[in-house]
């Protein structure tokens, strides 16, 4: 029958995994090993998530320039392929809804489908923390992650001059990868507050348990310095200035009392990563404010089980832990899901969990150090008045402060005062900033301001696609 007349997928799966990054791939592998019937649904065209993007079929002749960690992605993708028929893999599939009864609606290949599962592992990963600075909406300004994705997925590197600005390990990693790829005109403008270093030192003893992370970081930065890449530390008051065509032309910033500018035709911003909570928010799962990482995360138990029965959250989507931690979390979530389905006894689950638990604790040992070192500077949490906060609807920080003065108490009320958070990105780009600005202006902690209420569809879906679906359901 023609594709448009195909029925919605009715056969229920034991487990549906949403997202094929390290957590999703590991959860799928574990579940397949346990004999569960698994569906893996991923928005990308190939498995790997953002960290291992295109790891199975790289457009690069020399994949080694991405660094040794990328290899792990190739191993996971290969293992996933070996699952064969044990797992139905839906690629290029945008999930636009999950219902509390564990029905998943997604679009793939121009049509919508429904899928049912007895358990779901959400492995929807991280997104970059917004870094609102004046001029960040100009064409030619992108995230550091975007720069890396262009390289991993299409083999594109900047012609230069490129400036990487902000804070966090990814900033240096991307600069180092560009250096390996032969990019010559790179500058790093670091915004990490000077006081962070002393605070991070307190966590050094524990971080030494994960010494390989520290070694890697030190090696990267030393390689950049050796190659003569300028690293300007302690930058504040960042501002993007356009060229005559209206694209990015220069980054202006202040170090101490000196005002500096770096010319660039590509500016990559980075301020760490935060869990992407759109899916768990849309399900009204309980979320908690993480004061250390200054972000929201879904409340989960030690297996990743969320407040919604049948839904586990694994990987960075449950709180930032990095790719290796995500793998362990994916395995733990799959084990507990199998237990809940009666496919593993609690004892057997616990036994099988001991290795991933050990790995998880080792890989998380570095986090308190990194969290303290790269805690975002206040400038970027609550930017100056003129800064656009909501990129979709062009609401500025000053607008939000005026609304607070007029009685706005949180992001949801903000939607009554303006269209902030109501554009196509559904608050992904402004939600954290709006919460921080409102909380600071009211003089209350962020949890008291709250977060946007998120509703499906999470991704664009056409009325045509939806009507196909209702006909199929008849």
């Amino acid at each position: 029958m023609p594709p448009s007349a195909m029925p919605a997928i009715a056969a229920p799966y034991d487990l549906a995994v949403i997202g094929a990054g390290p957590a999703g791939m590991a959860a799928t592998l574990s579940a397949c090993e346990l004999g569960l019937r698994v569906a893996l649904i991923d928005e990308q065209h190939q498995p790997g998530g953002q960290i291992y993007r295109a790891a199975g079929a790289s457009p690069l002749a020399d994949v080694a320039l991405l660094g040794p960690d990328y290899r792990r992605g190739r191993e996971l993708v290969a293992a996933l392929r070996a699952c064969g028929a044990a797992c139905d893999y839906y690629a290029s599939a945008a999930v636009w809804q999950v219902t509390p009864s564990l029905e998943i609606g997604f679009s793939a290949g121009g049509r919508s489908r429904l899928l049912r599962a007895s358990a779901i592992v959400a492995a929807t990963g991280a997104m970059e923390r917004p870094m609102p600075i004046p001029g960040w909406t100009l064409p030619g300004v992108m995230t550091a992650g975007a720069g890396q994705i262009a390289m991993k997925s299409a083999g594109f590197v900047p012609v230069g001059p490129v400036v990487l600005a902000g804070s966090g390990p990814l900033l240096f990693l991307v600069a180092w990868q560009y250096l390996n790829a032969g990019v010559t005109s790179i500058a790093v403008v670091e915004t990490t507050p000077v006081g962070n270093h002393a605070r991070a030192l307190r966590h050094l003893p524990r971080a030494l348990r994960a010494a390989s992370y520290l070694r890697k970081g030190v090696t990267l930065i030393a390689a950049l310095a050796k190659a003569g890449v300028p690293i300007r530390r302690g930058a504040q008051d960042l501002r993007v200035l356009p060229d005559e065509s209206g694209r990015v032309g220069r980054l202006q910033y202040r170090i101490g009392s000196r005002l500096l500018t770096d010319p660039c035709n590509l500016l990559l911003l980075h301020q760490g990563v935060v869990p992407n909570t759109q899916l768990t928010r849309s399900l009204d799962c309980a979320h908690a404010w993480d004061e250390g990482q200054r972000c929201w995360r879904p409340v989960t138990d030690k297996w990743g089980a969320s407040s919604l029965d049948g839904l586990w959250v694994a990987g960075d989507g449950a709180g930032i832990g990095g790719a290796l931690a995500a793998e362990s979390q994916g395995r733990l979530a799959a084990l507990d899901a199998a237990r809940s389905l009666g496919r593993l006894t609690p004892d057997r689950r616990d036994e099988m969990a001991s290795a991933p638990r050990r790995q998880l604790s080792r890989n998380l040992a570095i986090r308190p150090f990194l969290d303290a070192l790269y805690a975002p500077a206040p400038d970027f949490l609550a930017p100056p008045d003129e800064t656009v906060v909501c990129r979709c609807e062009e609401v500025t920080a000053g607008d939000i402060r005026r609304f607070v003065a007029a009685g706005c108490t949180g992001p949801n009320q903000l939607k009554i005062f303006s269209r902030c958070g109501m554009g196509p990105c559904q608050g992904r780009s402004c939600g954290l900033t709006a919460g921080e600005i409102i909380a600071a202006a009211r003089g209350v902690p962020v949890p008291e301001a709250g977060y946007y209420r998120i509703r499906a569809p999470l991704k664009p879906v056409t009325l045509g696609q939806l009507s196909d679906l209702s006909m199929e359901a008849d």
Partner: protein
């Protein structure tokens, strides 16, 4: 409007060449590229203008989060160019000031 390209391609395994048109101008890309990557590499300045001030925007996150890359792709408006792979003969248009309400399905069949 285009500018001098700010990306160059590193050597890689052979991939099929495809040609798509962006606002009527043909651009070349390789199979496996996203529309957003192809458009950026071709030096297209902006992929849409905003509904509020009409300011120019271009792909920002390349991972489906920011929705700055919304374009009309093969007659389907508000498509995320960073999540769509290029295809030979694809017809892509930038979007001017269109408003897509969140939390509501968009029209069209």
């Amino acid at each position: 409007m285009t500018h001098t390209p700010v990306f160059r391609r590193l050597p890689g395994p052979d991939r099929e060449k495809v040609v798509l048109t962006v606002d009527g101008h043909p651009i070349e890309a390789l199979k496996g590229d996203s529309v957003a990557a192809a458009v950026l590499a071709a030096g297209v300045v902006s992929t849409r203008t905003t509904p509020v001030s009409g300011s120019a925007r271009a792909p920002y996150c390349l991972m489906g989060v920011c929705f700055e890359c919304l374009m009309d792709i093969d007659g389907e408006p508000n498509s995320q160019a960073c999540m769509t792979l290029v295809r030979d003969g694809m017809v892509v248009r930038s979007q001017a000031g269109e408003r897509l309400p969140a939390g509501q399905p968009r029209g069209g069949a």
